[in-house]
Symmetry: C2
Subunit: 495 residues, 2 copies
Amino acid sequence: MSIYRALSERFARIATIGEASAILGWDEAAMMPDGGAASRGDQLAALAGVIHDMLTDPKLGDDLAAAEPLDDDWQQTNLALMRDRHKRAVCLPGDLVEAIAKASSSCERIWRSARQDSDFKAVAPALGELLALTRQAAVALGEALNLSPYDALMSQYQRGISSKDVEPIFANYETFLREALPQAEAIQAGRNAPAAAPPQVPVALQEALCRTLAQQAGLDFTAARLDRSMHPFCGGIPSDIRITTRYDESDYASALMGVLHETGHALYEAGLPKNFARQPVGEASGMATHESQSLIIEMQAVRSDAFLDYLSPLLHRSFGGDAETFSPAALRARLRHVERSFIRVEADEMTYPAHVILRFRLEQALISGDLQVADLPGAWNEAMQSLLGITPPDDRRGCLQDIHWYAGLVGYFPSYTLGAMAAAQLMAAARQAVPGIDHGLAHGDFGPLRGWLRANVHGYGSRYGFNELLVKATGKALDPVDFQRHLASRYLAVS
Amino acid sequence: MSIYRALSERFARIATIGEASAILGWDEAAMMPDGGAASRGDQLAALAGVIHDMLTDPKLGDDLAAAEPLDDDWQQTNLALMRDRHKRAVCLPGDLVEAIAKASSSCERIWRSARQDSDFKAVAPALGELLALTRQAAVALGEALNLSPYDALMSQYQRGISSKDVEPIFANYETFLREALPQAEAIQAGRNAPAAAPPQVPVALQEALCRTLAQQAGLDFTAARLDRSMHPFCGGIPSDIRITTRYDESDYASALMGVLHETGHALYEAGLPKNFARQPVGEASGMATHESQSLIIEMQAVRSDAFLDYLSPLLHRSFGGDAETFSPAALRARLRHVERSFIRVEADEMTYPAHVILRFRLEQALISGDLQVADLPGAWNEAMQSLLGITPPDDRRGCLQDIHWYAGLVGYFPSYTLGAMAAAQLMAAARQAVPGIDHGLAHGDFGPLRGWLRANVHGYGSRYGFNELLVKATGKALDPVDFQRHLASRYLAVS
């Protein structure tokens, strides 16, 4: 057996154990009774330990060092990604990994009550400790990978784009927003008053429509489930996808948009290259690319004029009540509404990047040491004022709102906005390449769009990093202009 | 750290990975879409491989050999059970384990269609191959454990009782049945005609009552779930129990009895000694003991006069309709009905042991080589004729009905009847020790029975083998007289 073949088998075994963790993670959120929590933590930690042991096995390192360059580009990329994983696993001392695991779990627990009480001081010491450990890991990772500490953290979530690429893009967006947001608000205010409150819709009806639309978008329920959880997500594995949502009877759109968002993630997973299943190169290329796939479905396709025209009568048929509340105009008013707000996860697509820019800058300063934990609430509120012109009334609606930092996730936030921008860029390219996309959406047919995404994004797995993939698919690296054009046409055109 | 302590940590890690498998096994049966099947097989195999690697690790063997005898009896038993597991894992050559895994999976697949077509010849070659491999494993296990090949197989499912103990007990039962069954049938025939067909009951109402009664029996839904699957079972782990059932709107009793049966298994798991959680001695003592705990709830408690009197008005309140169909007499006629039948899993408690005796004898002959696979259908039908006086019209209702042999499970069947007999023996002892048991059941209160079971069975984990545990709890090893007394009072008393 060739060394490469032996390596592939080892990585397939690692991936298979990772699949077990993925299903258990879904179960934890969607099914597990409270009593199982402590044991589940142990189970996931034990599996992570098994994977870590396999990745740091000296025999694996020897094989990786001995492997010859391969003629096949996919295999060669696969080998490079194997080496990257091994390097990341061995460069962190075991006691640091353990200390981070303990500190995250403790900090996250403290954060839950601190957020509830809007009491930043209560969690500040734990956050300080966790950030100090995260910084140590960032330095070690950065040395091994030849990246700055912050880029080393960012690269855990998305390879192929660095903070140096992101900074000008975000600065450019800040400038755009400063003009665009007041304009959009003025146009919005000039329209008729927003439609009446949406009707109450029983959960069973919502769920049935969510299933229908997810299926229309391309989700294959012989290889997927839709369930409920507190925080919606897409989990599982490519052949057994588990998406979740939550239902609110007084706001049917939230589950519907949520399910279609998760369906976008699911289509990516389902479309990954099967001949590299369970290999590093066969996985999704990162969180920014993943987010581009959820947002191209939710924001670009589903909220398009074409699809809303299709959705309008379908909603009325499915939910009954007053047709007027489901008119295309009412849907546009409801689903494309800009508003300066405090909470990232509730933000519209125009203001959302401001929330991300704020976090991107603050987390860089926290890792570099330019910002002390004690000064975080003040820095947060100043940045909100500067970016959106509003100041959170308390830290619950400020620096305590997101779990990420308190769970040790630093470098993740940019992915959300990189994904939103990439979604616009990919949609523009897809529309150019496939003229039938909007015609399809107007008839509830996602096929033309999905076909293009499968060929130009999903099927590449991790063959390319973020910007490389965009160059392949759209002819250029991430370019904020497509996203701004998208926003301008949706929010800045007086209709 | 003492050697024993280090061993405990290793076994805790092994058990933790086993927990992950348990949850994934439940998911496979209760949740997984079809698309996940192949990947799930790989995931479970990978985890089994990890566990096997850990159990056969030479360092583990060295520690087990070096460990000193311990003063604490529980710890000493734990150490003995650790050694037993290690021995079982190392005595089987890796290629034999792999060959058995492949042959079982292939044979089971062929069996599914062979059963459907009632075509034994189609599966005979695969069964022959699997049995040959099973025999090899039995010989290797037997040599390592100083047991006969068949007892070595039996000991995988239940320690503390051997085929030499079982043979006279089963022979004795055969004699009992030869007289008792015709008597019971005559008494049954002499009663009024059986009640009208049970009412149709919507699944939602059935499920609600199943939950209520499982909870009353002691199932804690903050640490358990009830779901649906094709074949009902109790899975999961002590702090996160997963029971399943299936509902039939035209036969409400089947889900109800099924859920209470699985609840009996669940109470055993939940009552295992917490200070030995994840240790071999902290696990259930085997499948026969486990079956005694499901049957003491389902057969002994729930079908008792006391509980049926309680259940009667509750069923009427819960399901509505004609009170007469839920009268205590109607329930007794329905839930305590003897009948010679072909299918083990549908058999009543009096004829069930005949199905097990048949399998016990035939599987011994298959392993010893006294019975050839080609002769199995004939031997099966002869034995059915001899034991119950009926001959299956086809192999689907004969030797093709059960999955066990076709999945490589030989030595398991006796557990069902040993459990049924132990349940009667334990119930007799419990009634003697705790006078309030039937008074409790008459008020829907399982507390007195459960308390006795927890103290005398559940809390012992694997501290004792099957017969030892019975001696501790009832003063004697398995004695078929208690089960026969139970049957006589239920089926042979002219009311």
